[in-house]
């Protein structure tokens, strides 16, 4: 597949600007190439009778005029081409972001955030460089090298060949050294990574280091790593130190050819002194592209490699879609049924759910209890289609889950997840996340409901307090209660609490949950809870064990049964006593 498939449409939109930019770039280059000609004529005319400093002034003014024009047009192409590259970057980044936001948990489970970030930063930048400076330099190089070569030929073909004779050595050298430097550079990077790894390990294990009085030997060990890094670095330096000076030497030799052979040609009368000076200038212009080629190749290689990495992500098809949805379905009443749910992640893994059936009437509260990892969260995540469940297992208001558009489904079912995520935004905005237009009164009402209002007004800036690194650090319990308020505000037909009060003390948890059950008498609620005491009032409780519903009933029935539920309850009572 074409590596450029995602960027060509973006480039096409700006094709006129790019073409104009390159046109101007070439025009400016041509202007620049006139200057040596002016100098050439001026110097030659110095000998001629009748040539006065007035004529000289004209030449100088002509150069000034060119200078002004060059400056203006250089500004224009920079704005056009480099500016375009920034625009390009913006579009590409936006597509990347939009795409990421459409992908599901399945994707994020496989991808490391760090790598996704690296793509957004380094890779997009590399692509921008390819289409910005890469474009510019490629056009510049191509035009300048051909044009100055032709102008040199026009002055003296033999001298042209003689003077560019050393330049291929430079290209060979760049390729040859480039590889070695690359290898040496990689070794330096590896050594640096090892050093970082060692320091990282040391600091992570600083307690152990101290407990075993290993400070000094750790310093010795670190000195070995750091010493290795220095050695690898000097090895790289021994190569790099030769790189630019060597190129400089070859360029100077090339210039030396002009000095000697061009000088000889001038003496012999094959060319005049003005041409001699102009030839120098053109050779100077020709040398630059020889160096730039390596750079361009590099930009291109990095750019395409980065683009390929971006393509990998952009190619991922979102797996949670409205494909089978019925756009006529606009609301949810709240009756939920799970019918004979059988599920496993992969065929070679055991069943997570083995024939699970639950019926939940509108307005009822369902509590799900079970050990860590028994699949409680998976069950509600499937209901919300965070993961796609097997077809024909979940029914809402008697209709198959997949028939509901995702927007309808999620507008009517709100969840307070197990791992609370708040945005680095104000508390008010975090609570109003699902209903951005909510009034302050509404926000405060749900905050009170979630028993977090008092905490919030305790902060200096109240509801306008920023959360996270740049603001206040909230306790786990505060975060959970804010997330609770966030879900309340949506006033959903179905509310799911996924073990979402674990960091709140028992009494508050009880208070909140009792209020919820009371307030939501008419609406459906699913509570996954760790502490049994707080869900005693649920109409229906199921205990999940090994993918099956091991126990089912209300609190009294389950206590009577004396099974897992009862045992858990007793242990939790002891724990409460110890904490109390």
């Amino acid at each position: 597949m074409n590596t450029f498939r995602y960027v060509i449409p973006i480039l096409k939109k700006n094709i006129k600007r790019i073409a104009l930019g390159i046109g101007i770039l070439i025009f400016v280059d041509s202007l620049q190439l006139i200057i040596p000609k002016i100098i050439q004529h001026a110097i030659n005319n110095l000998e001629k009778p009748g040539f006065t400093h007035v004529n000289l002034l004209y030449s100088a003014l002509f150069i000034l005029l060119l200078a002004v024009l060059t400056t203006i047009f250089k500004y224009v192409w920079r704005i056009l081409l480099i500016g375009n590259a920034w625009q390009f970057q913006r579009s590409l980044r936006q597509s990347y972001y939009n795409h990421l936001m459409k992908l599901s948990q399945t994707f994020y489970n496989k991808q490391k955030t760090g790598e996704l970030m690296a793509r957004a930063t380094n890779d997009i930048q590399a692509v921008r460089m390819m289409f910005g400076f890469g474009f510019v330099m490629a056009s510049d190089t191509l035009f300048l090298s051909v044009a100055s070569f032709l102008l040199m030929i026009q002055i003296n073909p033999k001298l042209t060949l003689l003077s560019i004779l050393p330049l291929p050595i430079m290209t060979v050298f760049i390729i040859f050294m480039g590889k070695r430097i690359h290898v040496a550079f990689k070794r330096v990077q590896t050594s640096f990574a090892d050093l970082s790894g060692m320091v990282q390990e040391n600091i992570s294990g600083i307690r152990v280091v101290k407990a075993f009085v290993q400070e000094e030997s750790e310093v010795d060990k670190m000195a070995d790593y750091a010493g290795d890094y220095v050695k690898k670095n000097l090895k790289l330096v021994s190569l790099q130190a030769a790189f630019h000076p060597f190129m400089g030497m070859i360029i100077s030799i090339s210039m030396g050819m002009v000095l000697v052979f061009g000088g000889a040609a001038t003496i012999k009368g094959d060319m005049n002194i003005g041409e001699y000076v102009a030839f120098y200038s053109y050779l100077g212009t020709l040398v630059w592209p020889m160096i730039a080629i390596g750079w361009i190749v590099n930009l291109y290689q990095n750019g395409t490699a980065s683009l390929k990495r971006l393509n990998e992500i952009l190619d991922v098809e979102p797996d949670i879609t409205d494909e089978k949805a019925d756009p006529e379905l606009k609301s949810i009443e709240g009756e939920i049924e799970i019918k004979n749910l059988v599920f496993r992640y992969r065929d070679d893994l055991p069943n997570v759910f083995d024939d699970i059936s639950i019926q939940l009437k509108k307005g009822d509260t369902l509590a799900i209890v079970g050990r860590t990892g028994c699949g409680k969260s998976t069950l509600v995540n499937q209901l919300l289609r965070v993961y796609n469940p097997p077809e024909g297992a979940f029914f809402i208001d008697g209709k198959e889950l997949y028939r509901y558009p995702l927007e309808v489904l999620r507008n009517n079912i709100a969840i307070v997840p197990q791992e609370i995520f708040l945005f680095s935004d104000t508390i008010a905005n975090n609570i109003a996340f699902g209903r951005p237009g909510a009034t302050r009164a509404d926000i405060e009402r749900v905050a009170k409901l979630a028993s977090v209002h008092d905490d919030i007004v305790g902060f200096k800036e109240g509801y306008e307090t920023t959360v996270g690194e740049r603001g206040v650090t909230l306790s786990g319990g505060q975060k959970q209660r804010i997330a609770m308020a966030r879900a309340f505000l949506c006033d959903p037909a179905v509310l799911i609490l996924d073990d979402s009060l674990s960091a709140v003390d028992t009494r508050t948890e009880k208070e909140i949950l009792e209020q919820i059950i009371e307030l939501r008498k008419e609406r459906t609620t699913i509570i996954i809870a760790h502490r049994i005491s707080s869900i005693q009032h649920a109409e229906q409780t199921v205990v999940l064990e090994n993918g099956k519903i091991a126990e089912r009933g209300n609190h009294e029935e389950l206590m009577k049964l004396g099974g897992i539920y009862a045992e858990l309850y007793e242990k939790q009572q002891i724990e409460e006593k110890l904490k109390g």
Binding site: R93, M101, M117, I203, A223, H244, I273
Partner: protein
């Protein structure tokens, strides 16, 4: 906020004298290398500066060769002239009773204009292209041909002058054929080849000097920064634990690694480049001023504009860079956050809103980038403009000087070449600002780290070896943070030599805190801790820790091999002892089963081994060291029955004859110990044997039912 990339702010300073002074201190041991590098730097700058002069010589003496000629009919006229200009050391040649003086432009320049005018009126001064060449058969023939009056009529009274083997040929070259010119000028052609050889030698030497200069300065910078790195790391090792609790690992790693890396880059590349470029600039100016004072002054009128440009550009670019960085950081933060919170965004149907929000931030970054582009689009081409302006000035002013015969074409070319070299360093200097800026803020952070208060290792105390291993806590109070709740509230207990004690309690009861204090990891606020009846504060820190063998809940193995992890750099422990201790704690069979046995590499902190295996290795470590006190924090995770049995056996072996404190999670362990101390919310609530405590029906009874049943 998981998955965020750790970035430090880059401060504003480009140059900070205090920081630099601190850095130079580290360079001191390598001053020899720095000096050698500087010498090479001077040499190569000299070569760079000489190369345009070489071109000038080639052009003026050999390529253009415009020699002026003055003829004197009478000896007395010549004598008067030669006397007046004795300082010019004029050369004269006699021919046909006349005296001829060769006058290169350089000397002509210093003859009074009135004298020239007079000579011109008398038709005795001849300007134009005269060629200097050696006499040989060929040239003589050509010269004789020139005597043909039809060929040569312009200057009637003097065609050429001959003296000894040198003569000046009068006349334009156009009267000669190409081959004749080559014959006439063979001397100049040879000299040109000689100049070419000198040029080549200079170019090669320049290469060598450049190479050595870079290598030597890098050598100095690398080793100086190695010293700094070692010192910073060693210092870091001595910082107290609360410091590590406060600072994220990533930040501290950056100090010792990336921050110092920025410094060595600055020293080896940034600073030297800066010096080199400044040196070059000054050198060019001096060279031009020496070659022709007035011409140089006129040319250098561009300098104030260059300086102004540099200053305007520098300030603007710095601001622009900072804005771009800030916007990029904001963009990345949002992206990273939304990537972590994608589920909430999807579950609350906020896709469109978030996309719009991101588009806004994306636009801000674009705007910042675009303003930066605009700044560059103005200032970068302006450098070119100035370059062309200088070319125009050189051409105009230099050209008119040539018309006046005040300077030569070669000098004009040399000036053009100097000006070309003048702008490169300028551009480099502005590019180095960022390197310097990054390095300076790096230096600031590294040196700030090295000013953190270090833990007192009490090296001044006498070396003490614990004999009995008696431990006593006397009313110890501990709070980890100021004004925080106390984690230990008046703990007092005594462990007799050789006694084993289990610490039992719910999470947060203070078990770990007791161990933390015993190994002097944290400072307590009140009370006293005594070992062998002596206060902890009277021990050298290392004596305390060397005499306490600790096995952590999740044993952290160092990278290295198994042997290293058991003997921990103690060379006095021989293989026999090593194998013996391994056998005692039942880890020998496991180690023997490894392909490299004791030499088996430990990777990723030993995470390839099971928790149980790691604990067994840690037990061996304790036995090898034979400390008076043994501390065990039992693993809470499930360990397979077989390993569990081995661990229980090992615990018995290690406890034997040692004062032992065990944070117990297993009933079997509790049953081995002499005494159980029950902690609850930072206080000791019960003590006694298992059976006594069960009978008490207190906290222990509850804990027992919760944890051990």
């Amino acid at each position: 906020m998981k998955g965020q990339i750790y970035t430090d702010d880059i401060g504003g300073k480009i140059y900070d004298g205090k920081m630099l002074a601190k850095l130079v201190r580290y360079l001191k041991p390598y001053m020899g290398h720095v000096a050698v590098s500087m010498v090479f730097l001077l040499l190569l700058t000299a070569i760079q500066l000489y190369m345009p002069i070489l071109t000038m010589i080639a052009v003026d003496r050999y390529i253009v060769s415009d020699i002026n000629l003055i003829s004197f009919n009478q000896q007395s006229d010549y004598d008067a002239f030669a006397d007046k200009y004795a300082r010019l050391k004029l050369e004269s040649y006699e021919h046909d009773g006349r005296l001829y003086v060769l006058l290169p432009v350089k000397k002509l320049n210093r003859i009074f204009k009135d004298d020239i005018k007079k000579l011109e009126e008398q038709n005795r001064y001849h300007r134009g292209q005269y060629v200097l060449c050696k006499v040989n058969d060929k040239t003589t023939a050509i010269l004789q041909k020139l005597e043909d009056p039809t060929l040569y009529t312009q200057i009637s009274d003097s065609k050429y002058a001959v003296q000894q083997k040198v003569f000046a040929l009068v006349g334009k070259e156009k009267y000669l054929t190409r081959d004749e010119i080559i014959d006439m000028r063979s001397d100049a052609l040879h000299s040109l080849v000689l100049i070419g050889i000198v040029y080549l030698v200079l170019v090669i030497f320049r290469f060598i000097f450049q190479y050595l200069q870079v290598y030597f300065i890098n050598y100095a910078a690398q080793y100086a920064m190695l010293d700094l790195r070692k010192e910073a790391f060693a210092y870091l090792q001595k910082l107290p634990l609360p410091f590590f609790d406060r600072n994220p690992v990533g930040r501290l790693v950056t100090r010792v690694t990336n921050d110092i890396r920025a410094l060595d880059e600055m020293l080896s590349a940034g600073l030297i480049d800066l010096i080199q470029n400044v040196l070059m600039l000054i050198g060019i100016m001096i060279a031009m001023l020496i070659l022709d004072l007035k011409f140089a002054l006129v040319t250098l009128t561009i300098l104030p504009f260059v300086v102004l440009h540099l200053k305007l550009f520098k300030d603007r670019v710095r601001v622009a860079f900072r804005v771009v960085r800030k916007k990029l950081a904001a963009l990345n933060a949002t992206l990273s956050e939304d990537m972590s919170g994608f589920r909430i965004i999807q579950l609350f149907n906020q896709y469109s809103r978030k996309v719009n929000y991101f588009a806004g931030i994306n636009q801000e970054y674009y705007d910042a980038g675009f303003s930066q582009t605009k700044i560059f689009a103005v200032f970068r081409p302006l450098i070119f403009t100035m370059r062309f302006v200088v070319v125009a000035v050189v051409l105009w002013y230099g050209g008119s000087l040539i018309l006046k015969h005040a300077i030569t074409v070669g000098l004009l070319i040399a000036f053009l070449q100097y000006m070309e070299r003048f702008f490169d360093p300028l551009q480099h200097i502005s590019e180095k600002f960022n390197v310097l800026q990054a390095a300076m803020s790096g230096a600031e952070r590294v040196f700030a780290l090295m000013e953190e208060p270090a833990k007192d290792y009490r090296q001044e105390q006498d070396e003490k070896v614990l004999v009995s291993g008696e431990i006593e806590f006397r009313d110890v109070w501990l709070s980890y943070l100021k004004n925080d709740e106390y984690a230990l509230k008046g703990i007092s207990f005594k462990v007799e030599p050789g006694e084993s004690v289990a610490l039992v309690g719910h999470t947060g009861s203070g078990k770990t805190s007791i161990v933390n204090l015993l190994t002097d990891m944290y400072e307590y606020q009140q009370g006293d801790i005594l070992l062998d009846g002596t206060s902890l504060n009277e021990f050298r820190l290392e004596d305390i820790r060397r005499n306490i063998g600790i096995v952590q809940q999740d044993v952290f193995l160092f990278s290295g091999n198994i042997r290293d992890n058991i003997v921990l750099n103690d060379t006095s422990i021989d293989d026999e002892t090593l194998e013996k201790v391994a056998r005692y704690v039942n880890v020998d069979a496991f180690i023997d089963s490894l392909p490299m046995k004791y030499e088996e590499e430990v990777t990723e902190r030993g995470s390839t081994f099971s928790v149980g295996q790691r604990q067994l290795i840690a037990f061996a470590r304790v036995l090898a060291y034979d400390p008076a006190i043994f501390i065990l924090d039992e693993a809470t995770s499930n360990i397979d029955t077989e390993t569990e049995t081995m661990i229980q056996e090992a615990i018995k072996v290690v406890m034997k004859g040692r004062t032992s404190i065990i944070i117990a999670h297993r009933l079997s362990t509790i049953k081995h110990v002499d005494r159980i101390i029950v902690l609850h919310k930072g206080k000791i609530v019960e003590q006694g044997s298992h059976d006594q405590l069960i009978a008490n029906r207190g906290v222990y009874y509850d804990l027992y039912r919760l944890q051990f049943e």
